[in-house]
Amino acid sequence: MSAITRKLLRDLRRIWAQSLAIALVLACGVTVLIVSHGSISTLTGTRDAYYERQRFADVFASATRAPERLGEQIGALDGVSQVETRIARHVVLDMEDMAEPGMALVKSLPDSGEPALNIPLLRSGALPDPLEPDEVAVSEPFAEAHGLIPGDRFRAILGGQARDLRVSGTMLSPEHIYSIGPGAIMPDDRRFGVIWMGRPAAAAAFDLDGAFNDVAVALTPGARAEPVIAALDELLARYGGTGAHGREGQVSHAMLQHELDQFAALAVIMPPVFFLVSAFLVNMVLSRLIAQERQQIGLLKAVGYSTGRVAAHYLMMSAGIGVAGVAIGWGAGVLLTGGITAMLAEFFRFPFLVRQISPAAFALSGALAVATVLLGALRAVWGSVRLRPAVAMSPPAPAKFSRGAVDRLGAALRLRQTTMMILRSITRWPGRAAVTLFGVSASVAVLVASFFFFDAIEVMLDEMFNQSNRQHMTLRLSEPRGDAATLAAAALPGVLRAEGAFSMPVRLSVGPREELMRMEARGDDAELLRVLDADGRSVDIPTGGIAIPERMAAELGLSVGARVTVEFLAPPRETHALPVTTLTRQSLGEEIYIDAGTLFGLMRQAPQVNRINLMVDDAALGDFYRAVTDTPAISGVMLVTETRDQFNAQIEENLFTMVFFYATLGILITVGVTYNAARIQLSERAHELASLRVLGFTRGEVAYVLVGELALLSLLAVPVGWWLGYGFAALTAQGLSTEFAEIPLVVSRATYGWATLIVLAAAAGSVLAVRRRLDRIDIVTALKQKE
C-alpha cells in the first residue's frame, strides 16, 4: 500500500466522528429518496400484480334493478371484453361480540363459483355452496377481527329477515384492498366486512330474481373507458343506474391511488429538501476540514506529489465519506421501505407484497450523494492545491479583524472580552456562521413541517366531527322514505334528536369536465350536520342553488354565481342548471349540498329521506341498537363518535413512529451541523483556547467561548427555522391535498415548541460532547503549535 493511500485511510480513521456526522446527514437524503420511491414502486407493483392475477375490472356501475339479459347487451358494447353482473347490497349485521350493529356488503358469486372478474382470493375454507342459501364466505380482515373460522356462524339482516349465516371460507378481494364501509372515513374491520354468497341465495334475499344491481366490465386491450362508460350509463339509466365509472371511481382503488399520490408528492418534496440541506452542509464542512489540511497539502507538493495527485487524494477522502453516507442511506432505506410497505400491506390488505425498489432510485440517490460531497470537496481542494508549497506550508496569515457595529455594541453593553471573541468570530466569518445557522434552522424546519401533520389532522378532525358532523351516528335507509321515517327514528329508544337528510349521486358538468359526486339535501333546521363556508362558519344554503367545496370550485374555475349542470343519477334522472351560491370548506371528502326544499321542488316530489342523523343517549344505546337491528328499513349504521375515537387511536398509534422517525432526522441534521462546527472550531482555535487556560481561565470559562458561539447561532436559527418550517409545511399541505383530504395549513405553538426543544437539545448534546474534548486538551501541546 502506498504511503499516500495509508495516509488516506489513517486520515479517515482520525476524523471518523466528523466523517460519520457528515455521512449521516447525507444518508438522510438518500434514505428519504429510497423510502419514497421504494414504497411507491412496491405498492404500485403489488397492486398491478394483484389486479392482473385477480382480473380487476375496468368499469363499474350500479343500478336499482336491471334485467339479467342486459348483461349480454353490455357484453356486446364496443371495447368490452368481459362482463360480470352481480347483486351487491349493504346489510346490517348483528354480531355476538358487538353491542352496536355491524355493516356488510353482500356480493353474489356466480353459480359456477368463481366470477370472471374481480376474482376473490380464497384464504381459508371453501367457496360457499351456491345451493346452500345460508352459506357465505367473508372477507379475511372481518373474519380476523371477529375470530371467525370456517364453520362458525353469525347473524345478518338480509332483506328485513334475520338470518344465521355459516362461514364456508375467508377471502381477499382486489375490489376491497382498502376495505371501507359506506360513509366511513377509514377502514374498520370490526364494523364492516364483505360477504360473498351464491347468486340464487342473494337474489332470493333481495328480491332480485332474474335481475342484477351491480356490474363490472373488463375492456379489450387498448379500448378507451369513456365510450364504454357512456354506453353503460345509457343502458342502465332506465333501471336506476347511478352513473358508471372507471377505476378512479372505485372506492378501494381511489383510496389506494390517493395514498400513492401522497407518496409521490412526498417523493417530490422531501428528498430535494434533504439533499439541498445535506449538500450544503457537506460542502461547507468538507471545505473547512480540507482547509485545515493546508499545510499537509503544501508538504505533499513540496516532496514532489503533483497537484493532480494531491487533489485526487483529498477528493478520494471526501468520496470515502460520500460512499459511507450512501451505504448507510441505502441500508436504512431498504430497511425502512420494508417496514413501511409491510405496515401498508396490513392496512391495505394485499395477499402478497412484490417488494421492489427501482435500480434507478439507488443509482440516482448514490450519484447525487457522491456528487454532493465531491462538489463540496472540490471547492476546498482547489483553493489549497493551487498554492505554492512554501505558501501552503507556512501557517495562514492571522485572520484580519476590523472594528464595526459589534464593537459599538460591546462598548455599549460593557461585554466581557470572551463575549467579544464570540461576536467577532461570527462577524469575521459570516459565511461560516450562516452555514451553522442555516443547518440548525433546517433541522427546526424539518421538524416543524413534520409535526405540522398532527396540527392539520387535529383541525380536520375538529372540522369533521365538532363543526360539521355533530351527530352521534347516521342511519342509512335501504330506500328513500317520506318524512315520517325521521319521526319514526326519533321514536327509537334513547334518541335525543333526529334529522333526516337525502343523499344521491349526481354528475356535475362544467364545460367538458364531468365529476361524479354525491349531493346531500338538508333542511334549514338541520343542526347536527352543518355546512361550513370558506371561513369555517356554519351557513344555510340559499334556496335555488347549490353549495360546492371551495377546492373543487378553484379546480373547475367556478365562483359564486356560476351555473353548473347537475344530472340527478336517481329517479327521475333529470338534468338541471343550478347556480353556485355558496363555497364550502370540507377538509375530508367532497360533497355538494342543496337545500331540501329546492331539491324536492326540482324533483316534483314530496320530501324524502334516506339518511337520518341522530343524537342518542349513551345510557340507552343497548336498546337502541336492538331496535335498529330489528328495523328492516335500516341498511346500515355509521357510528360517527366511534369513528372519531378510532381515528384518534390510530393517530396516537402512529404518533410515536412518526415522531421518532422525524425527530431522528432532525437530530441527525442538528448533530451533523453542530458537532462538526464545534469540532472544527476546536481544532482551529485550540491554540487560542489553550492560551486562555494558560492565562488562568477555568475550563468552564474557556468552554464558554466555544459553546457560546454555537449556542448563540442555534438560538438565532430557531426563528429562521420556524419561518422555513412554515413554508415547508405550506408546500407539503399543497402537495398532499387531494379531493379526499384538503390539508389545512395550521402550525400550532406546540409544534414550534417541540421542534425547538428537540433541536436545541441535540445541539447542546453534540456541543457538550466536544466540550469534553476541550477539557482534555493538553495545554502544552496546543501551545507548541504555531499560530
Partner: protein, 241 residues
C-alpha cells in the same frame, strides 16, 4: 527602584523534579532531578541548548504541566499536590506567561487582549497602564494582525503583567524577533522586574542575554549544570546578538 528582594522564602522551590514523556522505546527523559530555588524579585535566565529541558521546567513551574516525580513549591504551597482547579486559580492569580509565539487572541485588539486578563484577575492594573509599561502606549486599539512581531510580544508582556503577578515566566520571548526589537522587549521585562519586583524567569538559548539577569542557571541534559551569579548586570541596550 525596588531591585532584588532577598527575603527568606524563595518564590519557587523544586525538589528532585523529573519529567518523562512517553514510554518504552519512545521514552524521553526531559528532566532528571532538578533542585533549584528562585527568590522573590529575582530575575533569572534559564540557559540551555534545545532539548536541555528548560521549556519543560518552565511549564512545570507555571503549572501547565506536572512532573513525573519530585515536588514543586510556590512559596509554602506544594503545587504538585494541588487539584486542577487550584492550579487554574494559581495561574490566574500569581503567574504571568510570555511565549515565543505571542499567543494573542486574533479577534481581540491589543487593549482587549490585556482586558481579557484584567477582567478575571483579583487586583489588576488598568490595561492601558500595562500596555504603557510594556512600551506600547499608542497602538492599543490595533488587532494582532495589524501589529509587528515586537509589538505583539509587548502586548503579550502587558497581558502577562496586567494582573500584577508574583512571577513572570518568559519562554524565548525574543526568539522570533530581530535583535533591535528583542532589546525593546527585554527592556520592558527588566523595567517591570525593577519597578514591580516581579520575580522573572527568562528562558533562552541566546547566551548574550544572560548578562541582564541577577542569576543564570545553566541546564544541560535535564539537569542543572551550573549556576552563576552576575556580579554586574548589563542593561538590555548593552546586549546584542
Amino acid at each position: 527602584m525596588i531591585g532584588r528582594m532577598m527575603s527568606g522564602l524563595p518564590v519557587f522551590r523544586t525538589e528532585g523534579v523529573t519529567k518523562v514523556y512517553g514510554s518504552g522505546a519512545a521514552r524521553v527523559q526531559a528532566l532528571r532531578g532538578v533542585d533549584l530555588a528562585l527568590d522573590e524579585g529575582e530575575m533569572v535566565v534559564l540557559l540551555g541548548q534545545s532539548g536541555s529541558g528548560k521549556s519543560t521546567l518552565m511549564n512545570i513551574l507555571g503549572a501547565l504541566d506536572t512532573p513525573t516525580a519530585g515536588r514543586v513549591f510556590f512559596r509554602d504551597r506544594e503545587l504538585t499536590r494541588a487539584s486542577d482547579a487550584a492550579l487554574t486559580s494559581f495561574r490566574r492569580d500569581h503567574v504571568g506567561f510570555v511565549f515565543q509565539f505571542y499567543n494573542l487572541v486574533p479577534s481581540l485588539t491589543a487593549r482587549e487582549n490585556v482586558a481579557l486578563v484584567t477582567e478575571i484577575a483579583a487586583k489588576p492594573m488598568r490595561p492601558e497602564e500595562a500596555l504603557e509599561r510594556a512600551g506600547l502606549p499608542d497602538r492599543m486599539d490595533h488587532f494582532p494582525a495589524e501589529l509587528s512581531g515586537g509589538e505583539q510580544q509587548r502586548v503579550a508582556i502587558a497581558r502577562a503583567i496586567a494582573k500584577r503577578p508574583d512571577v513572570l515566566l518568559c519562554d524565548e520571548p525574543t526568539g522570533a524577533l530581530d535583535s533591535k526589537t528583542g532589546v525593546r522587549v527585554l527592556e520592558a521585562l527588566v523595567d517591570i522586574n525593577a519597578e514591580l519586583g516581579t520575580a522573572t524567569t527568562l528562558i533562552t538559548h541566546n547566551v548574550a542575554i544572560r548578562k541582564i539577569a541577577h542569576r543564570v542557571i545553566f541546564l544541560a541534559d535535564g539537569r542543572v549544570a551550573d549556576v552563576v551569579e552576575n556580579a554586574e548586570r548589563l542593561a538590555p541596550s548593552e546586549v546584542s546578538w
